[in-house]
């Protein structure tokens, strides 16, 4: 006699918790076989608002955490992902991938975690500068996280592209609220389960599922969000994003080559601010006795 399968309830991931959407709504994207993937939470603007609160409160601790420690946590995400490779591959296939492509995507996703884990304590060293000003001052420019980042994950390659969007943001000390791929939400929900077991403090990454068109306006006009990252918006959506961003001059970041691009530390810099600090350098006033 065949065992009766336990079906999974898919939830949001906010502040390290797995709440259902406050709106009680759901949507049912179709899988590769035409059947619904499940009852997926259709996050509301209030869910987004709550997630921003969680991200803001997590920012202080995450931004000042030792870069070495952030590095270890990103590496831990990779470890957890590796252990769940089969599940991620299954879900990618359910969402329309082929077994070979799914396997490759999961492998690349794990490797991407390892790649960015290594950058956490290196990008600052590579890209900071000591500026040789002409006056008697020590002058240096360093990168600091921009703050709370709202992001929309690309629809293609729902696991790899999701990570490629999240990882550079958190590697640089920001916290993020990301909307998973609308049509392929399973990867983002399962990734949340990985993050929850990876020593990542609650609230650093918050994952929502839902309808892009519905949430986009709130993601770009929320005044406590410092930056917005996406890659596959329509031209009209980009226009909306840039227009609405003026309320707090949110940084609008259009990621290019999220899937096909070469691995690089430059995406980390896109959600960083450059801070330049000046301080006087004393010079000795006298030479001493000459007689």
């Amino acid at each position: 006699m065949e065992r009766l399968e336990v079906l999974k309830t898919y939830k949001l991931y906010i502040g390290g918790q797995f709440p259902r959407t406050e709106s009680g709504r759901y949507y049912t994207p179709a899988g590769a076989d035409g059947k619904p993937l499940g009852n997926i939470c259709q996050a509301s603007r209030k869910d987004f608002r709550n997630a921003v609160v969680a991200a803001r409160s997590a920012l202080g601790g995450w931004a000042v955490r030792a870069a070495f420690n952030r590095s270890q946590i990103l590496y831990r995400i990779g470890e957890m992902l590796e252990g769940r490779s089969a599940q991620f591959a299954d879900e990618l296939i359910k969402q329309g991938s082929t077994p070979a492509k799914a396997k490759k995507e999961v492998a690349e996703a794990v490797d991407r975690c390892i790649y960015y884990a290594g950058w956490c304590d290196k990008y600052q060293q590579v890209f900071s500068s000591v500026n040789p000003v002409a006056s008697c001052h020590f002058n240096f420019s360093v990168y600091e996280p921009v703050g709370v980042v709202a992001a929309i994950a690309p629809e293609e390659n729902p696991l790899l592209a999701l990570l490629e969007t999240i990882l550079p943001v958190i590697a640089g000390g920001n916290t993020v609220v990301i909307l998973g791929a609308e049509k392929s939400p399973l990867s983002s929900i399962t990734l949340a389960e990985v993050l929850a077991t990876s020593d990542l403090p609650g609230g650093v990454v918050n994952i929502l599922t839902g309808i892009r068109e519905e949430l986009l306006p709130f993601m770009v006009n929320h005044k406590d969000v410092n930056a917005f990252v996406a890659s596959d918006l329509s031209n009209d959506d980009w226009k909306t994003a840039k227009e609405e961003a003026v309320h707090n001059l949110k940084r609008i970041i259009r990621r290019k080559d999220v899937i096909s691009g070469p691995e690089s530390p430059y995406p980390i810099l896109e959600t960083q601010e450059v801070k330049t600090t000046w301080h006087p350098i004393e010079s000795s006033i006298a030479g001493g006795s000459k007689y």
């Binding site: 006087p280 006033i285 006298a286």
Partner: protein, 359 residues
């Protein structure tokens, strides 16, 4: 000999922790309304707070070194630079140059000094350049102690030119205290109006600030009615923080003037060093209402530079310091350069040194 023990620690500690080194309250003078009838600075301090000193006896009241404020050397240099961008022209230039002449301590401090050399110097002090009528005398002549009597004979008792004598094992200050006291008393007895002493830099750098304080206080006592100039020899103090500290010690120990340098080492008076000392004078004035004089010495040989010093005095401690009672230049060759500039203002021609007497 005074008691050289430290001040009782709790008193010190309280002062330094709370850092109430500037406890004066600022109020408008009585009768003044805000926004009208302002004094030059708009405000005058009226409440005088006790100093950061503990009084045992007048001569041994010591300054709490931890209360000297920090000094940022680059900030001082920037401010100093800004004084030099003031452009002093026409009437202000003439007035300033005459002030400079009148602030000079015309100095000869050589191993080769002779009575005749000193007599010539005294004559020059009173007759800077008789071809131009109406010039002032210098403020003083400055000589070694053995020449005080000669100078007094040359100047008489009615001259506006004061006699200053270096003392206290000038220039190194490496001598015994009793010898320094005796040297001081003798110079005053011979007719010196002013004593230019040197501090014990070795003691200062070794951290024995109490020794430095007590020594100054005792020399001051030995001076009697003569005014005491305390030479910090800033070129040996190494940092502007030390210059500030030494200034505070000297001022609180009773200096009538503080002076930068002996002129005997290469790093002598500079605008930044003088600025730090002037700020110490200004803070003391704010706290106590008492004025202390300032004398940069060594390295000031050009009129233009001297005018920049006046700018600094005016903008830091205030124009009330712009007299030879409160500000002096220790210099030997400055006078002639100033005279050449004054002459240029008179006849419009660029001058040459051979038209001005060198004494």
């Amino acid at each position: 000999m005074p008691d050289c023990t430290l001040l009782s620690p709790p008193f010190n500690r309280v002062q330094s922790i709370s850092r109430r080194r500037f406890p004066g309250k600022v109020r408008l003078a009585s009768g003044q309304q805000r926004g009208e009838n302002r004094t030059r600075s708009g405000l005058v301090p009226v409440r005088i707070f006790p100093l950061i000193m503990k009084t045992k006896s007048a001569a041994t009241a010591r300054y709490d070194i931890s209360c000297s404020p920090p000094v940022d050397q680059v900030g001082i240099a920037e401010r100093a630079q800004r004084f030099t961008t003031r452009s002093i022209k026409t009437g202000a230039k003439r007035e300033g140059l005459l002030k400079v002449l009148n602030m000079i301590d015309l100095t000869t401090l050589e191993g080769a000094d002779t009575p005749n050399k000193v007599r010539q110097l005294c004559y020059k002090a009173e007759h800077l350049h008789d071809a131009i009528p109406g010039l002032p005398t210098t403020a003083a002549v400055c000589v070694y102690p053995p020449f005080v009597k000669v100078a007094r004979q040359a100047l008489g008792s009615a001259s506006p030119v004061k006699i200053a004598s270096v003392a206290t094992s000038f220039p190194s200050g490496q001598g015994h205290l009793d010898h320094k006291l005796e040297e001081t008393q003798r110079a005053v007895g011979d007719g010196a109006d002013e004593i230019d002493m040197v501090i014990s830099r070795g003691k200062f750098l070794a951290g024995d600030y109490n020794y430095v304080f007590d020594e100054i206080a005792q020399i001051k006592e030995a001076c009697g009615k003569a005014r005491l100039k305390v030479i910090l020899e800033t070129g040996e103090l190494g940092t502007l923080d030390n210059v500030r500290r030494a200034s505070d010690i000297a001022i609180h120990a009773g200096a009538d003037f503080i002076k930068t340098s002996t002129g005997k080492i290469s790093s002598a008076a500079t605008i930044p060093v003088t600025l730090v000392m002037l700020l110490a004078i200004r803070d003391y004035h704010f706290q106590t209402g008492k004025m202390v004089g300032m004398k940069p010495a060594g390295g000031i040989s050009k009129a233009k530079l001297a005018l920049h010093y006046l700018v600094m005095v005016k903008e830091t401690v205030g124009p009330e310091w712009l007299t030879n009672q409160w500000f002096r230049f220790g210099a030997s060759s400055l006078a002639n350069d100033v005279l050449m500039q004054v002459a240029k203002l008179e006849d419009g021609l660029y001058q040459a040194p051979q038209y001005f007497s060198k004494d």
